[in-house]
Symmetry: C2
Subunit: 526 residues, 2 copies
């Protein structure tokens, strides 16, 4: 196991730390800037391109990043992962979300079964079920078609699937493949479930209950909420619910559900959009064919992430540049800025994916690390953000690296020409302009109107946000986060940091509190 | 003008910097912790309470913060502001958003009119208009009632009003005062307008076009989008649109609108939720009486912010503690975590409010400052965030101060009892538990399960999220941000950082580019 070393023990990291910082405003000026845009560009899966011209790197720094990737043996670690090594050391588990969309390496057997076959089987079961629902072969008790699917889940059972649904909803409408509208209930706040239930026709709604363990407090509470609503409407709840859970969970064999689809312990919640967790709601909403395209896109990106030529591997390069920004340049945050309204909740998903995976202070062996790990992730779609928090990004006292995403074409295709250009062209023009404004700045004698520049960004550009390109985009970030975890030598696949709050909340509800906990409970009259 | 001094010239800041840091885990343990919860609590307007027991402060630090408030003359500066001084030095403008909800001091005259009277007049004009719409006296051309109101605006004309609408939508339904459903179009992405238009019945929709200058690119583009949709539906657009703008804007006297309501240059976009910008859409959605309650709540919070006893002034104290965290403890971010699904977009509004106001590097006189200013703000509702990014907040390598918000009662009132408690109790128990978990941590021999604690938070607690308490909550944060700007000696009321991107985007669309800007334009085939 000697390959797992802390980042600060690597000679290549030491060498990286000694490189000369790039003056971004300078290198991005004039024709040199144009040359960088051409040169610092990597093709990704599904026609996407990762362009990092406006990052604070040069050939010297890139050379050191390549050496870091090699010394940290990133490609080899990825190989170990998809071949079924116990990469999640904290929970002693395999990490198999890649197998939900393809077989990257050897057959992986666990619990006595071929795991790729297991995931494919669940996809097929979901597809059959969804097709029957769409065909009116599975209906409510009155024999009427279900029109709405409501996901009940939280965290990874909510953010990813929700972001993916929103990303494709308009595309599906435009391409006549929106089979059912999807809604989501997540928060234990009773107003969340109540508001969603008020907004749907429960008699024609199918509820997908998602909990790996079958014990998630919020999700079970919201299930009761939904069952009450169904009962109050005179409906048989078991005709309106399916479960997505692990085979060993109490939900797996219950008569309370029309069907149960399975995931397992080898897929973390935040990596589960391509498993049954995303598969059920997305196949019901868009049809299994669309979900399959989404998986194909993710599989192509996974294959691209295996490329051992670091400078041709967008996920690895993106990860390495992030490490350089975090550990050499000292930047804490990264803003994710999709110029696509359809990606309105994609930053919230990446926020979980990244911060829950790499927000750790101990290495894979439980020893404290002495360097910074995962960044704070936030973001909103552009151009909206331009009229909001971009002020600080341009002129604030701290530098926040930026991750732009943009597409040449819109999804719906309806557009207007104003002042000689379409809205879509304006959208693209704005993201192009922002990259240069952040990088180069503009000096002004009035210091209040002065832009220092030097604010790094990268952009992922695609033709259009489709199921396949969305899958590729999602997998890119999953793999980026994984590679960063490898560099930092941390376990990106557990989340012990969520436990303490759960324990204390139970104590509050049981009135077993003292000190500050009791005092806060009293403030809420619990 | 000698009262405007940089923070690092103040003796009290120097003294603050020399205080001994508080060991939060230690002081929050045992009965001392309970005593802090009781002691470090300030009543706010509308029954809200600001509790800062879990912040890294003690009496010594608080004493220094009080001295800083006095030396920086925060109360006096607020007085100057609401009495009509030119506080926005960059744009040479008065800052009058407080006058939209009350008269805090002297009559303020500008442009030859009493500004409080002007804002009240606009509220009354909006109220009359809204009442007529609700009564069916103003209808579409077919004489049918409008059922939906659609706001077209971006930035401050979108985030604040949208967050306020979402915050009160369920409350209004529950209290039978939801008059019209509201929708929002903001992004220049054509899919935003197209999707919203696909989701509404345009024949019964009233569109509120909001642009102070009447020249905002996104908003004018989306107006055209909407006019096309109305025309395609065989409707007369001018029967379906109202404008909210300044009296001098090209929209003010146009025949294209049923009516125009006015704001002015003395109210920044991010402070405009209580002006006609929020007033039109919220009065149409909920009725003018509800909007009036919201204004009253804000007015009460403004009055509370005048309190010269710093330790009894929640907005000032919140601001000062934030300065201590930013400039002495060196924390970059603040997470806003409302335990209320209704506040789902409140963090996005605060993100604009705070980051656009205080993300500045020069002081009021255009001179660079040598200390950190406004923090990065992000957040999502709890308990959702607990299953997402809280991992990093608990166990990441950097400390992120937290701002919790919670309410004892839900808005809708529908609830279920599971395992002996309601969902609402579970929600409250979770926020109480999180505060203590972050502050105190919990040691574990397994370092992976170890929580260091020492992660500071405050909480604002209320009985219920109502129009009045929402108004008070909004004004609290507006005033907090204002006081922080005063301490940092920056101009919190301009936003020059948004200009460069606009200029460059125009150049891209005009094909007047070279270098990197041309290269990025080419990537998008512009």
């Amino acid at each position: 196991m000697a390959i797992w070393n802390n980042m600060d023990t690597l000679a290549s990291f030491e060498a990286l730390s000694r490189t000369k910082a790039v003056n971004l405003a300078e290198v991005m000026s004039g024709e040199n800037g144009a040359a960088r845009v051409e040169k610092y560009s990597v093709p990704m899966a599904e026609g996407l391109v990762y362009n990092y011209a406006a990052k604070q790197v040069d050939d010297e720094i890139l050379d050191k990043l390549v050496k870091l990737a090699e010394e940290a043996r990133l490609a080899e670690k990825f190989e170990l992962l998809y071949n079924g090594e116990v990469i999640n050391t904290g929970e002693k588990r395999l990490v198999l979300h890649h197998l939900t969309r393809g077989q990257l390496g050897n057959t992986v057997t666990a619990d006595g079964v071929d795991k790729r076959a297991f995931y494919v089987e669940q996809q097929q079961r979901i597809a059959e079920f969804a097709n029957k629902v769409h065909a009116g072969q599975i209906t409510n008790a009155a024999g009427e078609k279900f029109t709405t699917v409501v996901q009940i889940g939280i965290g990874g059972s909510d953010l990813g699937p929700r972001a993916m649904y929103l990303a494709l909803e308009n595309w599906a409408k435009r391409n006549n493949t929106l089979k059912m509208e999807a809604k989501f209930i997540s928060n234990v706040d009773p107003d969340d479930a109540a508001a969603v239930l008020n907004s749907v026709d429960v008699a024609h709604s199918l509820f997908v209950l998602v909990s790996k363990s079958g014990t998630t407090l919020e999700t079970l509470t919201n299930e009761s909420f939904v069952k009450d609503a169904l009962k109050n409407a005179g409906l048989d709840a078991s005709r309106h619910m399916v479960a997505v859970t692990s085979e060993t969970s109490p939900l797996a064999k219950s008569d309370d559900y029309l069907a149960a689809f399975f995931m397992d312990d080898y897929i973390g919640g935040r990596y589960s959009s391509t498993s049954a967790v995303g598969g059920a709601v997305l196949s019901l909403a868009f049809g299994p064919e669309v979900f399959a395209q989404f998986l194909d896109g993710a599989a192509r990106a996974d294959e691209a992430a295996r490329n051992k030529d670091v400078l041709s591997n967008a996920a690895m390069l993106d990860a390495l540049i992030g490490v350089y920004e975090r550990n050499v340049l000292g930047y804490l945050c990264t803003a994710v800025l999709p110029y696509s309204q359809a990606l309105s909740r994609f930053p919230a998903h990446l926020q979980q994916l990244d911060m829950e995976s790499n927000g750790k202070s101990v290495n894979r062996f439980g020893e404290p690390v002495s360097y910074s790990t995962g960044p704070v992730i936030f973001g909103e779609p552009g151009t909206n953000g331009q009229h909001s928090f971009y002020q600080l990004l341009h002129q604030g006292t701290d530098i926040v690296p930026l991750q732009f995403i943009g597409f040449q074409d819109s999804q719906i295709g309806t557009d207007v020409v104003i002042q000689g250009s379409t809205s879509q062209k304006k959208l693209c023009a704005n993201v192009a302009a922002q990259i240069v404004a952040f990088a180069c700045g503009k000096s002004d004698d009035n210091r209040n109107k002065n832009f220092a520049g030097g604010r790094p960004s990268s952009i992922i550009i695609g033709d259009q946000l489709t199921p396949a390109s969305l899958g590729a985009l999602l997998a890119h970030f999953e793999n980026k986060v994984m590679f960063q975890g490898f560099v930092w030598n941390i376990n990106s696949f557990d989340q012990e940091g969520v436990q303490l709050g759960k324990v204390l909340a139970k104590r509050v509800l049981a009135h077993e509190t003292e000190g500050a906990l009791k005092a806060y409970s009293d403030l809420f009259h619990i």
